[in-house]
């Protein structure tokens, strides 16, 4: 039987010998080199922060050191000995455990099982010992102060509770290395504080921790060391004590931050969209705002605040229970995305792979999908028109591809995003909603998307930009709505728009990091 987490003490090891060392790790996916010869070292009893922009390769290295991906090249050493992990279980046996960025959980199984699947305690005849499993699950949940019944089916839990289960799962293995890939993203303020305590406890037990976060306040609060990745390459590492925030940002981005947003002349026109009293039974309530031509409206909030849900309701995916939408002053009923498109509202979704691009279809067919009535003749396709339309918009967005009949699945994330935007521009919309438009896309494409948003606004399009990145929100928006728990917490403009006010309203707290 495995001892539970507190029973072993790693502290005696010397702190300057890495317990886990990766060097020269390279990993490619079709069309992307996610990691290019990177190295990473973790030390017992210390927290190492891994920093990098979206798509820098942080999650990829996590998957590599937990045995989910096998590197194309490079070496992994545990306590000095080279190892190879063929599966996640190999890594767990070597004492490496992780809270992954994606939820790695099973809705149909109970909390206890989600914690223990893959390494459940065994009783007689190698059968799973359910009683023991429940008991241990209860212990671990108690350690992280999660008030959850081990027998609850996971599907009955909310996102925050699920995240606690994921944390409990990571702690169920007696690990010398604990990896946390954006563990606080879905947690509330109180839960985050509890997580910090847990990290401190793990540290004091001599475990090595890899902590991935986009939030600098967290990093400065708990990390001892840092490693920075940029575009799949290692750009620096050292002690937190030796750097300040500006240094880290410079390493992450490779240039000064305030230069990346385009200058814009703000000249909003007449009102094009007005939302009044939008509500949904479980997702959001009392949503109201207006939008003018040429304006960029930022929508900020913590992950899970319900921003995407509001936008998808506007786009006709879900149906609100109350409220009305006016477009150019007239009330419109939107029951489906087709209705929304017909009324000039388009939506660039957050989940590109699932909701944005139709992977498996060529670029040009993706672009013309909502505009087929333009390019076709009495319902019959006209390929020449399609290619012409697709070319017009993809070239305008500077799409990097080999040909228009290439499968969008072979494009990089940023270029897929461009295809989705091109698809909507081709419909000549009035309002374009971009949900996390630069999430997971590289810096070059990011700047292009920003520039393009500014250009669209200048041409008189109304833009709604949902974003979790404060610099982006501040750099791009004319006005910002902050959402919290399905409600609008604030609408900010002009001088009121500061990082502090955004965070305060989003988290519902009085004060921010000094």
């Amino acid at each position: 039987m495995q001892p539970s987490i507190a029973s072993r003490d790693y502290a005696p090891q010397t702190a300057d010998v890495p317990v886990l060392a990766l060097s020269g790790i390279t990993k490619s996916f079709p069309g992307v080199k996610a990691l290019d010869g990177v190295s990473l070292e973790l030390f017992p009893g210390q927290v190492t922060a891994l920093i990098g922009e979206n798509g820098a390769g942080k999650s990829t290295i996590v998957k590599t050191l937990t045995g989910i991906y096998q590197p194309d090249a490079g070496e992994i050493r545990v306590a000095g000995k080279p190892v190879r992990f063929a599966s996640a279980q190999d890594a767990a046996r070597a004492g490496i455990t992780a809270i992954h960025q994606e939820t790695v959980l099973f809705d149909e199984l109970t909390v206890a099982e989600n914690i223990f699947i893959g390494h459940a305690p065994r009783g007689r005849f190698g059968m799973i010992d359910w009683a023991e499993m429940r008991r241990r699950a209860r212990d671990i949940l108690a350690r992280i102060d999660a008030e959850l019944d081990p027998d609850t089916p996971l599907r009955d839990l909310g996102i925050a509770s699920k995240h606690l289960v994921a944390i409990a799962r990571a702690l169920s293995v007696d690990a010398r290395v604990v990896v946390m890939d954006e563990p606080t993203a879905a947690l509330s303020h109180k839960e985050i504080e509890e997580l910090y305590e847990l990290v401190d406890r793990l540290k004091s037990e001599g475990r090595a921790i890899l902590f991935i976060s986009h939030k600098f306040d967290e990093i400065f609060r708990i990390a001892d060391r840092y490693t920075v990745f940029r575009d799949g390459a290692h750009v620096g590492s050292g002690l937190m004590a030796d750097v300040d925030e500006a240094d880290l940002v410079r390493m992450m981005v490779g240039r000064d931050v305030d230069q990346i947003f385009p200058d814009r002349v703000k000249s909003p026109g007449e009102e094009v969209l007005k939302v009044v009293g939008y509500a949904h039974p479980t997702e959001f309530d009392d949503i109201g705002f207006s939008l003018r031509r040429g304006e960029i409206l930022g929508v900020y909030g913590l992950v899970g605040a319900g921003r995407s849900e509001v936008m998808q309701a506007l786009f006709g995916i879900t149906r609100p229970s109350k409220g009305a939408v006016k477009i150019d002053g007239a009330i419109k009923v939107i029951r489906s995305p087709a209705d929304a498109v017909a009324n000039g509202i388009v939506y660039v979704p957050e989940d590109r792979g699932k909701q944005g691009a139709v992977i498996g279809m060529p670029i040009f067919q993706n672009v013309t999908l909502p505009s087929l009535s333009q390019t076709s003749h009495r319902g019959f396709l006209r390929l020449a028109e399609e290619f012409a339309l697709a070319r017009r918009y993809t070239e305008r967005l500077d799409l990097r591809a080999a040909a228009l009949d290439q499968d969008v699945g072979n494009l990089s994330g940023g270029n897929q995003q461009k295809v989705v935007i091109a698809k909507w521009l081709a419909t000549q919309p009035k309002v374009i909603i971009l949900d996390e438009p630069t999430k997971g896309i590289d810096i070059g494409s990011k700047a292009a998307v920003h520039a393009f948003m500014a250009e669209l606004a200048a041409e008189g399009l109304a833009v709604i930009m949902v974003s979790s990145e404060i610099p982006e929100v501040l750099g791009m928006s004319d006005r910002v709505i902050v959402m919290r728990e399905g409600l609008i917490a604030a609408e900010l403009e002009g001088d009121a728009l500061t990082p502090e006010t955004l965070v305060r309203h989003a988290a519902g707290i009085g004060e921010d990091r000094p």
Binding site: A338, K354, P370, A402, Q406
Partner: protein, 328 residues
């Protein structure tokens, strides 16, 4: 490839002709020709216009359903109730004929019943959001069951003489009406799938229904139409088959659903949805027809032929993958 910095994007990487040369359809056509040659060497009776014409009856009716089924499968759904629809349609027509309906009315009743069955499947799948494979396993029993309730151990056989034309008539020389209808359907479905907006949305839905919906396609409506089409084609096939048999029993066309699905999959349509073509299905229909007819001429029992079909079904997917594994 994606790192290319060309500002001007070419339309195509490969010319359509080059693409055709690597296509599944061409491979399948090669197979069909090989079987044709093998058949003519194996049996002296094969190369005879009348015999070949007779042989087409082995697949024309199934193929007509297969065209609609191909669209449905490309869109990520499936209909296992097609053979049961044939039974119900045939029963409805038989009852009408027994009541004295004329041929035009019979055809209308047949098509109408087919459409109604398709609509029933379509509503269950698109309105209630049920998985189509389960729904149609259910309606497969339901439709044929209704036919059993109506007919019991009886049979309808009083069809008007003109009704025989659909399954037994010839348009000219050895060209049967069914074969002509098969050709017209092939053409119509080719145009519908590969040349219209509707066909494009079928592919989009099959590749990613969520993204298609997020692109403004009315996914539910398209799927519903596809169930309607499948019902309609089952109705057409039922008219031809009933006319060819000249009678109706509730056990008519039993087991056809799996043969139709086999034909579609053999034609290169991905069972997971998103890809496939009508020419592929047409060639697959010929392949299946030629294999069964060729082996039939050698008096090989049908079940042994089905071993060939089963092997073909698996190997057409397995062989390319094995080849790739072996090379890389």
């Amino acid at each position: 490839m994606s790192d290319m910095t060309a500002r001007h994007l070419p339309d195509r990487l490969q010319s359509p002709a080059a693409r055709l040369l690597q296509s599944w359809e061409l491979l399948l056509l090669g197979l069909a020709i090989a079987i044709f040659i093998a058949n003519s060497l194996a049996s002296p009776y094969f190369l005879n216009a009348w015999n070949l014409s007779d042989a087409t009856f082995n697949f024309t009716e199934k193929a007509m359903i297969a065209f609609a089924m191909a669209l449905l499968i490309i869109a990520g759904e499936i209909d296992l109730s097609v053979a049961a629809i044939i039974a119900l349609v045939s029963t409805a027509m038989g009852a009408a004929a027994a009541a004295g309906a004329g041929t035009p009315l019979l055809v209308l009743i047949g098509l109408g019943t087919g459409l109604a069955c398709g609509a029933f499947n379509g509503l269950l799948v698109t309105r209630l959001g049920l998985p189509s494979i389960v729904v149609t396993i259910g309606t497969m029993s339901l439709f044929r069951g209704v036919s059993f309730i109506i007919l019991g151990d009886g049979a309808y056989r009083s069809y008007p003489p003109e009704f025989a034309y659909f399954g037994q008539g010839y348009v000219g020389w050895v060209i049967s009406f069914e074969f002509v209808l098969f050709g017209l359907c092939a053409l119509a479905y080719y145009v519908l799938l590969h040349r219209t907006n509707f066909g494009r949305s079928v592919f989009a839905i099959g590749n990613n229904a969520t993204a298609a919906q997020f692109s403004g396609i009315r996914v539910g409506r398209v799927k519903f139409m596809l169930f309607l089409l499948t019902g309609l084609m089952s109705g057409v096939a039922a008219i031809c088959l009933t006319s060819r048999l000249g009678s109706t029993r509730p056990s008519i066309a039993s087991g056809w659903e799996l043969e139709v699905v086999t034909m579609v999959v053999l034609g290169g349509v991905s069972i997971l949805g998103g890809s496939g073509s009508i020419p592929g299905v047409v060639i697959a229909a010929f392949v299946m027809g030629l294999v069964t007819f060729g082996l039939g001429l050698l008096n090989v029992p049908g079940i042994v032929m089905s071993i060939f079909i089963g092997l073909m079904l698996i190997s057409v997917i397995a062989v390319p993958r094995l080849w790739r594994m072996w090379r890389g």
